[in-house]
Amino acid sequence: MTMKLTQYQQEMLDGKHGEAKQFCMDKLTDFGEAVEAEEMVPLVLTLNGVPIWAKDRREPKMASKLAVYDLGHSALYDPLFAMKDAKVADHECTKCGSDPYMMQLDKYDVKDSGPWNFEIPGKGSFKIDEEIHRAYQDGYDKMAQHGWLNWLSCTPYFNTCIPKMGEYCASSESSAACYINTILGAKTNREQAVNTVYCAYTGCLPKYGMLLEENRAAKCIVELDDEVRDNLEGVADWAALGACIAEKADNRIMAVTNLPKMMGPTATKQIVSCASPGMNDPMMHLMGYTPESPTLEAAFKGKMPKNPERARVTMGDIIEMYQRLNNLMPAAGPDRAKPVDIVIMGCPHLTFEEVREIAQRLKGKKVKEGVKLWVQTDTPSYFMAHHYGDAKIIEDAGGKIYHQTCMVMTPMRHYPAGLTVATDSFKYVKLGSGFGQKWIFGNPEALINAAVTGVFTPTARWDYWSQPRDVRQTLAMPHVGITGSVSA
């Protein structure tokens, strides 16, 4: 063994702190040797999935259901659930939680309550299997007994577990990994979901990949045009920008310059989460935001070449990204009016500010009969929305607000065929486009309008920006804001 262990880590490996810790340390030290790590780092956050627990996974009926519902992670927990002394790391600084999954547990049986239980008249219905619901609740309870806090959120870094600069994390959720590295300055890989189980019980992980300073350096610069810096508004714009940046950097860590001042949590969440599917390493140096990069020299970790490679993002790139996303699985209907079945927002989970914007746009309106408006957020924001009245506005209008869920993790390929889903989530369009539904990508203003009218129509702002530059210069820029923002 070449990896240096602390006394406590060695004791865990020797079995002095129980079978579970020994089991997990054994796996982690093997992994550490394989990636040639020299030591382990202590973790403040571990993010992984809640398992579906089944007494007998091989029983044919259950096995066939698991093939539909299980992502593959559940059985990993079986040996740990079978150990009497198993508890997650007990240091007060180490928090272990979970990604969202399939349903709001207490609303499983409530008719038409969300992606896990709904009916669209004339098109069909979907409800998660009852036995799977019970098995999932069992997995949830067992996790809680072991000391996991079941966040069921992909954005715990906003309000539940907030790592500080320089601390180490193990996040199997890519979008969270990119936010933690980029905005908080803590360090995490897009950790594979095997290690994160073992990390939780030991509180440590071999130091490798993005946990090493030298692997976090920028390799190129992506610069925004002034026009981009000054005119992005709305969730989908930020998402498209993130996707454009990742594409320009061509799978390298980049430093991004000329960003707008005062981007809030919603904007930065969208930028980093949309960049991460296009990058192997979950890290961007957003100049003015990334704490470890006060200067370009720092972003390059002191190794900036004389003439670093530079790329630009133009408004044309942003518009093209919208068009490409809308062409992945294009919705039926004329360009200016596409009928929708489901309008969903909340991937990654909505910030409270986003929930509030939706409520303000919906106030006094009604969602069209037969159309679903699904508003998906994390647990703290869900209860804040109930406390402050935003949830009531959304539900009075006929929408649904819920927590604990990820729509794409519910088995969407078993939804009624041929539905049209409109969303402001880049990730949904990318992940869901193989599952048979039709997709529309747009900003909240247009999405709320689609939920109310049943038809998606591009906004005046979109009409303006999608014109060629010479035509655009002859037009007045439309202003259609709410809470100081304008959206496409």
Partner: protein, 145 residues
Amino acid sequence: MTQTIVLTGIARSKGKAAGEALVNRQRLGWAFNAVGNEDGVVLQPGADIEGECVGGKIVVYPTVHGSTSGAVSLYFKCTQTDHGPAALICREVHYIDIGGAIASGIPAVDSLDQDPIETIKTGDWVEIDAPKVGQKATVTITRKG
């Protein structure tokens, strides 16, 4: 006429395995949408081994492609549906696949003294002896002429 080639590399996951080789020149992912969890059939469009079943095979490929969930999906195939590979041989075993292989208890080997993609042919009989992670592993290739 039987030809035998012996290569040495480094074990990224330990174990012994023997099986027929399945060689894929493209990067390969193990997530459920790349290799079916239920049946081990390769779904990844454009892969040389698209449509083949990886069950019990020694799968040879350059390195990983795609999602972090490849680790758990590899585990699911190896331990739950018995349609997982017997071992992995790569130019470089990516850490997503290292984690999946260790959890699954199958050997994974890289850094061989000859390029495995060029040297090993689909259908060769391959035996792997990889006793310790980070240490020397032996890959014995037997080809019937």
